[in-house]
């Protein structure tokens, strides 16, 4: 592979003007449809934070009253990812809702197997939105694929009257309304919007750390105009997500030439055809990062990306590839910066590639911290306690 040196035009900035946007503002169409009685819009609750998207439009990010649309892949296989998001909300004393009236978006399955259809996909999305609305909270989407997919669904429902009619009929049977959120918000947008508040509470110095960032395809390639861009970050030539958060925490972010490439997840491939996922992830992402930046950590913001980039390195090692980069989410890194326990909260032991050296570089005594976690699991094993609680996590 040819590696091109990455040149940066440090002073060049592009200021996007929403009046020149090549796409329509879907929120205006949403409110128009609401006026016509076609659907109901779930408003972003106040107070909210304002960020800019690709064409300079303002996007509202709720501070609290968030309904956490969890990710099956995060909760199932990398649970510290979701736990960190909740921990951040708790650390700021924010009102959030962790629902049990929630299903997966089912988009992973759809993109893997096509054993669904647009009507079913839209109905699953609207059912979840309605569940959030019924309890008075606003959906905050944890998974990058759910986020991208829900934006596609919202787009389709706005533009296809027949699909609206079909989904409304399904919702009537469920005793629910056809509701759509004013904004589809990904948790990493919330983290980015909260970055200064997070930095104010930072207790772990991260200035000796270099990270590479992988933006998730379904975050910035699906309904691309709705991803966050910032003229201060990459001159607004790529999404500001993750990078903006890391820079606020003092992390040095290294650039690499294959940043636009996907992680190799593949939906179907990661489950039943992993030769593709492994090869792509190691050769087009991890090895390139190692050669061009040699970072301490890879930070990303989606279920599939953390999983693929992390798990694929085991086979890469067996093939003498340049691997050995721990992979975590921005929520975990943000919580880590604020002093969350790496095992009780960040649950770093669910990740595959060794991350102890990274934490030691940040000054953590990983043996001691692991022993603290084991003290809790021993109590669970002995039946002295049923679960590790939030209070235990703070000890």
């Amino acid at each position: 592979m040819i590696h091109l040196p990455v040149l940066k035009a440090a002073d060049r900035k592009f200021q996007a003007n929403p009046d020149n946007a090549p796409t329509e503002d879907i929120r205006e169409e949403l409110f128009q449809l609401e006026k016509e009685g076609e659907l109901e819009v779930i408003r972003v609750p106040e107070p909210y934070m304002e960020v800019k998207t690709k064409f300079g439009r303002i996007k509202k990010i709720p501070v609290e009253k968030t309904w956490h649309h969890k990710s099956c892949g995060q909760c199932g296989h990398i649970p510290g990812y979701s736990t960190s998001i909740f921990w951040l909300n708790r650390a700021f004393g924010l009102d959030y809702y962790d629902p049990t009236d929630q299903t997966s978006c089912t988009a992973w399955n759809y993109y893997a197997s096509a054993t669904s259809n647009p009507e079913a996909q839209a109905a699953v999305a609207v059912r979840n939105f309605a569940a959030a609305h019924e309890v008075g909270y606003f959906p905050l989407i944890h998974c990058g694929t759910s986020f991208g997919h829900y934006k596609e669904v919202r787009h389709a429902l706005v533009h296809q009257p027949e699909l609206r009619r079909k989904v409304r009929k399904v919702m009537e049977k469920l005793g629910k309304k056809l509701v759509l959120p004013e904004e589809v918000v990904h948790y990493s947008e919330w983290v980015l919007a909260m970055k200064d508040r997070i930095a104010e509470r930072q207790v772990v110095d991260m200035s000796n750390i270099t990270a590479t960032v992988h933006p998730a395809c379904h975050y910035h390639k699906l309904i691309e105009e709705d991803a966050i861009y910032d003229s201060e970050i990459y001159g607004a030539q790529r999404t500001a997500i993750i990078t903006g958060t890391l820079q606020a925490l003092g992390v040095n972010v290294g650039d690499y030439s294959t940043w636009f490439d996907c992680c190799g997840f593949g939906f179907r491939h990661i489950l039943v055809s992993r030769d593709f996922s492994r090869s792509f992830s190691v050769q087009r992402k991890i090895e390139v990062m190692m050669e061009e930046v040699n970072p301490d950590i890879v930070v990303t913001h989606d279920t599939g990306c953390v999983t693929t980039l992390d798990q694929s390195q085991f086979a890469g090692k067996a093939h003498d590839k340049k691997v050995g980069l721990p992979v975590i989410s921005d929520s975990q890194l943000a919580a880590m910066a604020m002093g969350a326990h790496p095992y009780k909260v960040l649950q770093m032991h669910w990740h595959n590639t060794d991350n102890t050296k990274f934490m030691q570089k940040l000054g953590m005594d990983t043996d001691k911290l692991w022993a603290e976690f084991e003290l809790e699991t021993d109590k669970i094993k002995r039946g002295e306690k049923e679960f590790l609680t939030w209070e235990d996590a703070e000890k």
């Binding site: 199932g76 593949g266 235990d392």
Partner: protein
């Protein structure tokens, strides 16, 4: 072996049948939002991860459907679409196509019509479909078994050996589960089954895996009946 795009590849399938399937794809509501023609510029290929690994090209797919090459579309629907990793990097197409979504539609047609190649592509995937359709949570902690992920190393065994305790050592109360990603309410599952019922998704499953269809029907009809929906059947 590379992709065989010769007209002989599926000479045993009639042109009418190939055309019927292509017309089914074209009648999808999304079709005219994801295909506007094709410059044949190859920009999609430059961005495509699957093109780097397989003998696969989103350009060839977009070109074939734009030119309405019925034979070629049939070959690609069988031998190519399942290589796509659905990342949508190809959405940067200057013709405003979405080759990835063209592929989604073609896959749906392949599944709905029970093409053998679709069944082959989804071999081993049935347990995932079962999980998502029956529990509402696609990925569960108990899927982390060493025999399912041998290439992820000894770490998977460590997790599966400690699964119960490690799940209980998660502070959020909703995450103490092993069979689902989180606690999902019974009422929520019932609503999901009603969605599957009303949107015809089970027909797709029947086309691709009859055994799986029957198992799912048993599970779903029983729970629906318990919830008072005894009039609902999936036949």
């Amino acid at each position: 072996m590379g992709l065989d795009l010769s007209i002989n590849k599926y000479a045993d399938v009639s042109y009418d049948e190939k055309e019927r399937l292509f017309e089914e794809a074209k009648s999808d509501d999304r079709w005219h939002h994801v295909l506007y023609g094709c410059y044949e510029c190859g920009i999609c290929v430059a961005a495509c991860p699957s093109a780097r690994f397989y003998d696969f090209s989103p350009r060839v797919i977009a070109q074939a459907v734009a030119r309405e090459d019925v034979d070629l579309v049939y070959t690609l629907m069988n031998d190519s679409v399942w290589d796509c990793s659905q990342c949508f990097s190809c959405d940067r197409c200057p013709r405003q196509n979405s080759p990835g979504q063209i592929i989604t539609v073609l896959r749906e047609v392949a599944v709905r019509n029970g093409l053998q190649t679709a069944k082959d592509a989804l071999e081993g995937y049935g347990r995932i479909i079962y999980k998502i359709m029956s529990t509402g949570s696609q990925v569960s902690p108990d899927m982390l078994q060493p025999d399912a992920f041998p290439d992820w190393g000894g770490h998977v065994k460590e997790i599966s050996d400690n699964l119960d305790v490690w799940r209980k050592a998660l502070p959020p109360e909703t995450l103490h589960t092993t069979e689902t990603g989180w606690v999902v309410d019974d009422k929520t599952i019932i609503e999901l089954y009603l969605i599957w019922h009303m949107t015809g998704v089970m027909d797709l499953i029947e086309g691709i895996d009859e055994g799986l269809f029957m198992i799912l029907v048993d599970v779903m009809e029983e729970r629906l009946e318990e919830a008072g929906y005894d009039d609902i059947t999936f036949d």
